[in-house]
């Protein structure tokens, strides 16, 4: 259905020109605004060009999972709101929302970004549960990277709420000054392959022409902490290496915006 679009995107890429005039490996301008929600423990609004998402971190005290008695709980939820793209529907999260949530979760979890052991209040009994909620406000492409960036920005902004002597959270009291202990700042970069061309930060039009994509979670040391391959076309080992290299090279641009 998108054969002609794909051919046109490829024709532009072969000349090294993107639909909005960027270079293939160039991001749109990124801006981050912290503390956009008063009721969340931490929040951030991320704009990548016209794409806009907000993320909130909500902290609660919880009993740890039986298999990880000395670790806090982490949950990531992504909601793609119908107002951000006419293709999105209300109701339970669809395939794309689930995928983004899982990949954002993977980047944060596997990079060991939150020092899980610092989230323990009483070992085996009481830990912090960290809930990250990400909502899309406007989709002009590349929601994946925007959501991952918003999640990490919200975590950075988060401050622990006050805990009462009954081990309950007092949400009415002012937040404490204690920040969430973050050991690393992973960012995710999605590299796209169309034909034999690679590029990052796709626009909505370009997203329709994607043949293969690879989302790479990168820590500040350039270590890869998460991977997700998407779309139909297979990737060769060389492709994979090239795409990871691109992601590692581009990751600092996103991290500098934090």
């Amino acid at each position: 259905m998108y054969q002609e679009l794909k051919a046109h995107v490829l024709k532009c890429l072969n000349k090294g020109v993107r639909y909005d005039g960027r270079k293939p490996l160039e991001f749109r301008p990124i801006s981050i605004e912290y503390g956009v929600s008063a009721s969340a423990e931490g929040s951030a609004r991320v704009r990548i060009g016209g794409t806009e998402v907000i993320a909130g971190v909500k902290m609660e005290t919880a009993t740890p999972y039986p298999d990880t008695p000395n670790q806090g709980n982490l949950m990531v939820n992504v909601e793609l709101l119908p107002m951000s793209n006419p293709k999105f529907e209300t109701g339970p999260p669809g395939q794309q929302a689930n995928e983004i949530a899982r990949v954002v979760d993977r980047g944060i979890r596997e990079s060991k970004c939150i020092s899980v052991h610092d989230l323990v209040i009483k070992p085996g009994e009481l830990v912090w549960g960290v809930n990250i909620d990400v909502c899309s406000l406007n989709d002009e492409g590349n929601l994946q990277d925007a959501c991952a960036l918003a999640a990490i920005a919200a975590l950075k902004d988060a401050r622990l709420p006050k805990v009462t002597e009954h081990d309950e959270v007092d949400y009415d009291a002012p937040k404490t000054d204690q920040k969430l202990p973050l050991a690393r700042l992973p960012v995710e970069v999605t590299v796209i392959k169309v034909g034999d061309q690679f590029f990052v930060d796709p626009l909505s039009d370009e997203e329709m022409a994607i043949e293969a994509r690879l989302t790479v979670g990168v820590t500040e040391k350039g270590t890869v902490c998460a991977l997700q391959k998407g779309a139909e076309a297979p990737l060769s080992l060389e492709d994979l290496e090239k795409m990871v290299d691109i992601a590692v090279k581009i990751a600092p641009t996103l991290r500098n915006a934090l």
């Binding site: 046109h8 024709k11 639909y19 005039g21």
Partner: protein, 238 residues
């Protein structure tokens, strides 16, 4: 009951806002009568001409008009034609008869003429009161669009983009050497060299952003000259 206009000329009104009171006034385009009042149907600017209250819409989607040339996208292949999305609240139907002058045998696979997702330039031939829209491909310049890229702008900016006798869009075409087709429904198609397409798209977006300001032609000519190096300002064009 007094009969009078309730708003000033050129005032911006919102849908449902009373514009005039009394049966001696007539509702013009964009307005409707409710009892003895005339109310606004859309967001727009009022103009009162004699006893007729008119509204010039400032926002909203495309409302189909006969003889408009629009760009549509095939969203369904029917038994005897195609259903097109024309960026309006109502979809349009193109029947076999109107689609091509070729002979199409009975039971032929219609997707070989136009498949799902194909875009075409077509002309609206009929709009019923129930907003059933018929479009046709018979006429000069009406064709299937291959390759190229599309953008969507407000249909209210289309007259500015086209300019007087196509002067504005002609200027962009000359400067960028791109093929450009502007549909009355606000869908615009571009095909040309990649970097020139970007300039053409930006020029059109600039027109939309600055449509309400004066001296637009000159500013677009300057913009095109700066971006492409081609001086397109026609002698004394303002």
């Amino acid at each position: 009951m007094t009969e009078n206009v309730l708003v000033k000329d050129k005032e911006i009104v919102v849908p449902g806002e009373p514009l005039a009171q009394g049966m001696s006034f007539l509702p013009g385009p964009g307005t409707y009568r409710d009892g003895d009042r005339i109310l606004a149907q859309r967001l727009g600017m009022v103009s009162v001409e004699g006893k007729v209250v008119k509204l010039i819409a400032l926002s909203g989607r495309y409302s189909p008009k006969i003889k408009d040339k629009v760009i549509g996208k095939v969203i369904d292949v029917l038994m005897t034609g195609w259903r097109l999305d024309i960026a309006s609240p109502y979809s349009a139907v193109m029947t076999l008869k109107d689609a091509t002058s070729e002979f199409i045998p009975r039971g032929a696979d219609l997707t070989q003429y136009y498949g799902l997702g194909d875009s075409v330039v077509c002309q609206i031939v009929n709009v019923t009161s129930q907003k059933l829209i018929d479009v046709s491909m018979k006429g000069p310049g009406l064709r299937k669009l291959r390759g190229g890229r599309f953008i969507e702008v407000s249909p209210l900016k289309v007259p500015r983009i086209i300019g007087k006798d196509g002067s504005m869009v002609g200027m962009i075409k000359n400067a960028t050497k791109c093929e450009i087709i502007v549909g009355q429904n606000g869908i615009i198609w571009f095909d040309g060299a990649p970097e020139m397409e970007v300039i053409a798209v930006n020029a059109v977006k600039k027109i939309c952003d600055e449509a309400h300001l004066g001296g637009l032609t000159q500013r677009i000519a300057d913009f095109l000259k700066e971006s492409t190096g081609v001086d397109v300002a026609q002698g004394g064009a303002q």
